[in-house]
Each structure stands twice: as C-alpha cells, then as structure tokens.
Amino acid sequence: MAQTSSLAEENSSTPLSSQQSIILRIARYNPEHDSAKKFMEFNIPYEKWTTVLEAILEVKKHLDHSVAVRYSCRQATCGSCGMIINGKPRLACFTKISELNSNIITVEPMNNFPIIRDLAVKFERLFDTHHKVKPYIIRDDTEITTSTKEFLQSPEELEKYIQFSNCIKCGLCNSACPTMATDSSFVGPQALAQAYRYVADSRDKGKDDRLKIIDDSHGIWRCHFAGSCSQVCPKGVDPAMGIQLLRGYMLGFRS
C-alpha cells in the first residue's frame, strides 16, 4: 500500500526556500500483525544540507507519527540510526539527500538484524558477539598497583589500535557482510574488529584467549575479505583491515 502525501500547511518563521522535493519510501512492518514489509511514500522538500534522518523526522512530525525510527545524536557519534538507504547500509544522520543523486529515497531496516518495527531493529546479536570476544583489557595486575598508577603507552603504540576504537557499534558492517547474510553463527566483522582492537593494544595480555575464541569454524575463518564492512563503516574503522591483521597472527604472518 503506498500513499503520496505532501507537507501540511504550517505557520513557520522560516519559509522553505527550496522547490526541490523527493519521494521518501519508508518500509513499514510490524511483526505482530504484518506478514510482509510494505512501503509508504511521502513527498518531502529538501535543501542541499538535508539529511535522510531529517526527512524521516519531517514525516513523523507532519505526515505519519507512527513511523518507528531509532536516532539520537544526529552527528554520527551514537550509531543509532543505521538503516538501508537506497540499497546500502548507512547512517541516516550522516547521509545527505543531495549526495544520493536520486529523486526516490528508499529507507529500510538494516539486514541481518531482527526487526522490532519499521526501521528499528534488535541489536542483541551484535551485543552478544561483541561480548564474546571479551572487549576489555585483560591483565592480571591493575593500574593501581603499578608505580606509575597507569599503564603507560607510547603514541606509536596508540596508533596501532586507535582506529579500531572508533567503532560506534552502529551495525552497518554486520548488515553489509555477505557471510552475515546467510550465516547465523558468524561472529561478524564488528566483533572481529574489536577483537583486533584489544589484541593490538599493548596494555592487553589476553591475546591468546581472544585468538582461541575466534579460531572457530564460524569465527574469523568465515571472513573472506569481501571488504563490504569497510565500504560502509561511517567512522573509518575499516574492520576488514583489522580482521586480516588479526588473521595474520593465526597464519604466522605476525607474531
């Protein structure tokens, strides 16, 4: 069922300057009573700086309050607004309508995540796989007991893993991964990249523990370096790099 609706008349102190508008197609699905996804269409005006999230919120404000969408920071920091935009996983707050070069913008919930409703998905699997790789510094002593009262680390040592600590757990990588598309047991690029983040951290002593966890038939060996995770990562984490560097340890390329 599709409906094309326009903005309701509103008294506003800031008149819209743009004559440009797009059709925003939003996937609607409530697992409690819908058997399949359906799309609803909305006619939304936009400026060159308008993001997809702003367009969706315009729909919620004026046209259909019931659209379910998760969002928070609006500045690509929290990782809440991941969704499929014109076929590719992206953050809605970080994607401008003008850069999509299309009159029709289709937004759908992220693949490989169970749907709660409409554009909101469940993150339990991502949290579970992330937790599985022990995403914390593992060592026997604590900073309190050292004479320096902190674990010292040089800038060079920091450079080795800081890229991977930029992960905002948005799940776009897990959505793009071709293995995640079919393998329910795969750990996923997000967890593997985080495993590398800690293995590469000079303060961490849990490398052997983590390598044992990911040395599994549905662990690191199910990654085939398709690179889609890195293509979609909005923070430059480049999970594909982390996973191959991590695999280098297991194949003997690195010690």
Binding site: T179, T182, S184, S185, F186, S217, H218, W221, R222, L251
Partner: protein
C-alpha cells in the same frame, strides 16, 4: 583454512605443468590415445597427476564445505555437510587413482 591455502599453492604449480604438457606437445596431438597412455606410464608424470588429484579434491570439496556451512547452520546439518564432503573427496580420489593405477600398470 591452512589446508585450503596449502593445497591451493601446491596445486597451482603442478596444474601449470599439466597444462603446459598439453600446449608444448600440441593440443590435439597431446590428446591422442597413445600419447595419453605414454603420459600415464611415465611414473613421475603419473605421480604428479595423483598429487594434483589429491590436492584439488581436498581444496575443491573443502571450498564447497565452506559455502554449504555458511548457507545453513545446525549441528546435524554441519556434521552431514562435513562428512559428506570428506566422503565425496575420498570417492573422487579413489576413482581417479583407480584410473591412474590401472593405466600405469597396463590393466586397460
């Protein structure tokens, strides 16, 4: 996975030799009955064919096993796929080895 890489690298060199044999002899001439029999009777070449057979069977069926394991999960299914692929691997190696050994020993 190390088996997958190892068999691949080893097979590349040997398959290249196998293909070059066809090209250096002349493609059509190399496929004549007497020429093929002579190849099989030459022990180093027959040995090379046997090694290629083993390496590529392992590499090929391991690759198939990887693809099938990613398509569906579950203890029973995964066991069935793994054992099935190993069985197919062994069957192919046995069948191919039968050809090589029988021709080499003149049992055609």
């Amino acid at each position: 996975m190390k088996i997958h890489y190892g068999t691949a690298l080893a097979a590349v060199a040997l398959v290249a030799v196998h293909i070059l044999m066809r090209l250096t002899q002349g493609f059509a001439e190399s496929l004549e009955y007497d020429s093929v029999i002579a190849n099989y009777k030459f022990i180093p070449y027959a040995g090379m064919l046997e090694i290629i057979l083993i390496l590529l069977s392992i590499h090929g069926f391991n690759g198939l096993r990887v693809i099938l394991l990613e398509l569906k999960q579950g203890k029973t299914y995964e066991k069935a796929v793994s054992y099935g692929c190993v069985a197919a691997m062994i069957a192919l190696i046995v069948y191919g080895s039968r050809t090589i050994i029988m021709v080499n020993t003149g049992m055609t």
